[in-house]
Symmetry: C2
Subunit: 201 residues, 2 copies
Amino acid sequence: MLAERNRGYFEAKNIAALNFVSSPGAGKTTLLEKTITALKEEIPFFVIEGDQQTMNDAERIDATGVPVIQINTGSGCHLDSVMVNSALKQLSPDPDSILLIENVGNLVCPALFDLGEARRIVVISVTEGDDKPIKYPTIFRNADLCIINKTDLLPYVQFDVEKTKEYARRIQPQIEFIETSATKGDGMESWFDWLRRQRSA
Amino acid sequence: MLAERNRGYFEAKNIAALNFVSSPGAGKTTLLEKTITALKEEIPFFVIEGDQQTMNDAERIDATGVPVIQINTGSGCHLDSVMVNSALKQLSPDPDSILLIENVGNLVCPALFDLGEARRIVVISVTEGDDKPIKYPTIFRNADLCIINKTDLLPYVQFDVEKTKEYARRIQPQIEFIETSATKGDGMESWFDWLRRQRSA
């Protein structure tokens, strides 16, 4: 596969490539929309959107004004390095930019496919239950950051944030955490700071 | 694969086998817990639980007092007919019972694997967004029933129930819908009635 070729491409152009994985509906696209809208004057963003079907997510990103490519996987369950390599040729991201890769909504299969990214970010929603890291360990094993999203819904659901972190650390002791409500704005400054650090890293 | 063998087994013993698919954390296990607790004196239930890791779900079902087998798929992303066939040999469900099969939390891959079930039920949570049927069409194409769960959270999220139904019907015009809050109890009587009809079907 072409993960190493993609990694070389990112290295050559000093691009920070981030692979966002989550269950369907954890809020990845909203997180990216809000992030791009807030930071696009400061950081050049390029986006690859993965979905089984529809251009919906690409259209939402396109409305923010940054370059985006949609990959439809059909019955496929994840992005792979060949798809990303082909998208890179069309997208041609600028040097020193951040490439946001939104994977197909799937907490299982994308775990096994290296896209050549610098960092893997797993997004979980507080509505999904706090046991996700131990029930889906493979995807947490290679994750650098876990974004715990939809924290505005915490008053209405059973979800123990500390228990989730403890479970995730059992699988991946170095994993970092940021708690956000992408729709309401809580925690977004911490996330923006994390993102800025990737660019200078 | 052994889907047809499983179907023959169910036919021979007049067992209604139901395959529950959803994203991680859509509430399948809670729905099954509440269903079994309410109806176990009326209907003999047997349960097969699928997860990548942990016995958590089987333990939750076991606490209701009905026979349950946990299948751990490891890095695998779905149950298949061979796993179910092997579980059937251990579980030996009674004639005229209902077999509840909770698939691995994954809105993508389980779509492609026939387990020999009579009905496929896709559970979506209102926190996941109303565009799921068109973004993940494969899993809706073979679904008989869509349970729209966590309706108690509707006041706090953007989710248009009618739009979801319209999207799902575009993929599968015969699909039925039931709206539930498994935790609060709303809509559960409609679901119980649907379940009773499967048994006499």
